[in-house]
């Protein structure tokens, strides 16, 4: 690192007031894409939530607030709570494992590093569904994991490893962990480790340097990791469906039930809208936090 750390951290000079027309034109296709295929469908889903349902899976004429009122269904809080805690726990574990993984990936000797990153990405070569079904075989009551655990005396022969919230949590962590590792690794790779040396020179322990210099330095990546893990977790449908038991339903499963077996599109739309709002809330918080952290010239002052 030849450049001074502070100049590396500085955000690139932006001049929003001097946007030229051709920049608009360049942005137009992606804006159009977002508008037509993301914002418009979302608004349609929101509006269907205010329509009455008909008995045959259609959307009736006129407008109503009945569907919104029916969200007060006494059975929902348990499902919402389960969705929330599973998503939060998945995010927390993914961060706890992802940060050290990203750190060691970035610190690994260059000849190992590419192999290790490759190994992180390799699972993506296999279909998501196939990997979940592989878990079913691993956790099968007569499968390998179970046999090892029983042999070690860690579980008794009547306990089931599958079809409980624990199995859902395990498979969700497995699925989303690479999404947490990759952004953290990308940031950790660019991090200037001389700052950690400087911190230890100034008397900080290694842990203190890690906590007060490294973590704030990759703060943006941590936010990204939280977003890319937490948001898809909230919308999980396949994982609780395949490895979850009779009491592992999440909001995604309820939406599927409403749309398919109950033939109630407005209700499915209302639940989807609720989910979208639940996703937007952390996004806005993160966006605000990111803006704040972007404006600061971060780590040097904080480490002092």
């Amino acid at each position: 690192m030849k450049t001074a750390p502070s100049s590396v951290r500085e955000p690139p000079a932006r001049r929003p007031d001097r946007w030229r027309s051709h920049e608009w034109i360049v942005t137009l296709p992606s804006l159009g894409w977002l508008l037509a295929l993301f914002i418009a469908p979302t608004l349609i889903v929101f509006s269907i939530a205010f329509k009455p349902a008909d008995l045959f899976g259609g959307v009736g004429p006129g407008w109503t607030l009945d569907t919104l009122r029916s969200l007060g269904n006494p059975n929902y809080p348990a499902i919402v709570w389960r969705t929330l805690w599973l998503s939060l726990a998945t995010t927390a574990v993914c961060l706890l494992v992802g940060i050290p993984c990203g750190y060691y990936l970035a610190r690994a000797p260059i000849r190992w590093r590419n192999t290790l990153v490759m190994l992180t990405v390799v699972p993506f070569w296999t279909s998501f569904l196939v990997r979940i079904f592989a878990w079913k075989h691993l956790l099968h009551p007569e499968g390998p994991v179970r046999r090892v655990l029983t042999a070690l005396g860690l579980c008794d022969s009547a306990a089931t490893l599958l079809y409980n919230p624990g199995a859902v949590l395990l498979v969700m962590i497995y699925t989303y962990l690479p999404f947490a590792i990759l952004p953290i690794y990308a940031a950790a790779e660019k991090f200037d480790y001389q700052l950690i040396e400087a911190a230890t020179d100034l008397g900080a322990t290694r842990w203190r340097a890690f906590r007060s210099v490294f973590l704030p330095g990759i703060r943006v990546a941590i936010f990204t990791a939280v977003l890319v893990v937490f948001i898809p977790c909230l919308g999980s449908f396949v994982i609780p469906d395949v490895v979850g038991g009779p009491s592992a339903e999440m909001i995604g499963n309820k939406i599927a039930q409403r749309a398919f077996s109950d033939r109630n599109l407005p209700h499915a739309a209302a639940l989807s809208a609720l989910l979208t709002l639940a996703v937007l809330a952390p996004l806005i918080v993160a966006w605000g936090a990111r803006n704040r952290s972007g404006r600061r010239a971060v780590p040097v002052q904080e480490a002092s």
């Binding site: 008995l55 045959f56 009551p141 089931t160 395949v242 398919f260 077996s261 033939r263």
Partner: protein, 347 residues
């Protein structure tokens, strides 16, 4: 200018490749939308040879999925295989074309005994394809003291190794039968007691499942599952330890029917396919493969002993008398939805 010409030329080549070059075999294409493992593939190939056409098969896993897809405007299917209650709904919604009986001479072979289980006794909009029922699959050597009753789901020694269908009508229906009520009841008190029974059973269930139970019972992951007769009989041909039982309280019977949706392009070919499947020899061959009952009277004598005298396929009189067809309940479906929500939410 030269570049523009080249560009035009290439796009012409591409268009030709996409439109014509890709399909070498000429002739019409019949598009089926059916349940998985529900037709013998060799028979489809024979039909292709006989008619000089191609058949494309797409599958669905529930009547509701089929309905939702067609309701949302999916077109291009020429022949669909909904259960009778869904035929009634789709017919009411004007989603089906009338059947032209003169194109299906083999309709004369239909077994009148099963007509009352269909949605459409006179075959105006649909023709019966297969009869199914839902009972219990179990592992002979792993379940001590098995009894043919829905009360098996109360067996705590099998907790965590049993499944019931993830289908509100089937599963609440099993509890209603267990209690001696009709599985089409709209009586709130009966539904409430059925709810309590399913909630009690749920404590012993690994999950509610419609598809994976077949692999699960085959691999020994599950020891007792609630499932469809033909599906379980198919598993039994591969695994001798699996058996099928009809609960003595009665079961649900369903008829899956063939219907031609609005917007079908190959209407005559679809009729020809219905006629083909009701040719007695073909019907028998198909029934042997799928292990379901094709209500085709002339085909029965061509069936093997195993199928012809299998109580799981041809239900015994006493069970039949206590069994019912699931009917669409219209507005009263909401009662079942409410009960199902309570069951799913209960701890």
């Amino acid at each position: 200018m030269n570049r523009l010409l080249k560009c035009l030329l290439w796009s012409g080549v591409m268009a030709w490749a996409i439109a014509g070059g890709g399909c070498r075999r000429a002739g019409p294409v019949l598009r089926l939308y059916n349940w998985a493992d529900y037709i013998k593939p060799e028979l489809v190939q024979r039909f292709e040879r006989e008619q000089g056409c191609r058949v494309m098969l797409d599958t669905f896993d529930s009547n509701e999925a089929l309905y939702a897809k067609l309701k949302a405007g999916a077109t291009g299917y020429d022949l669909i295989f909904p259960s009778s209650y869904m035929v009634a709904v789709m017919r009411h919604q004007g989603m089906l074309q009338p059947i032209r009986r003169e194109l299906i001479p083999n309709l004369s072979h239909l077994d009148p005994a099963y007509a009352r289980y269909t949605a459409d006794e006179r075959c105006e909009y649909s023709v019966p394809y297969m009869m199914s029922n839902s009972g219990l699959a179990y592992r002979r050597n792993r379940v001590p003291d098995f009894k043919p009753t829905w009360a098996m789901f109360d067996r705590q020694d099998l907790a965590g190794r049993m499944t019931m269908l993830n289908d509100m009508r089937e599963t609440i229906g099993a509890a209603l039968k267990f209690l001696g009520y009709s599985l089409n009841t709209t009586n709130e008190a009966e539904l409430a007691s059925a709810r309590d029974v399913v909630i009690r059973w749920k404590k012993n269930l690994a999950k509610f499942d419609n598809e994976q139970y077949k692999n699960g019972i085959a691999s020994g992951e599950f020891l007792v599952t609630h499932g469809y007769n033909g599906d379980v009989l198919q598993v039994m041909t591969e695994n001798e330890d699996v058996a099928y039982a009809l609960p003595r309280e009665g079961v649900s019977i369903a008829c899956d029917e063939m219907a031609i949706p609005m917007g079908a392009r190959e209407v005559e070919l679809a009729h020809a396919f219905i006629n083909f499947l009701h040719d007695p020899a073909i019907a028998a061959e198909n029934a042997e493969f799928t292990c379901f009952l094709c209500p085709n009277l002339a085909s029965y004598e061509l069936l093997s002993e195993e199928i012809r005298h299998n109580p799981a396929v041809f239900l015994p009189e006493d069970i039949l008398a206590r069994s019912e067809v699931i009917r669409d309940l219209g507005a009263d479906n909401a009662k079942y939805i409410r009960v199902w929500d309570q069951i799913k939410a209960a701890e």
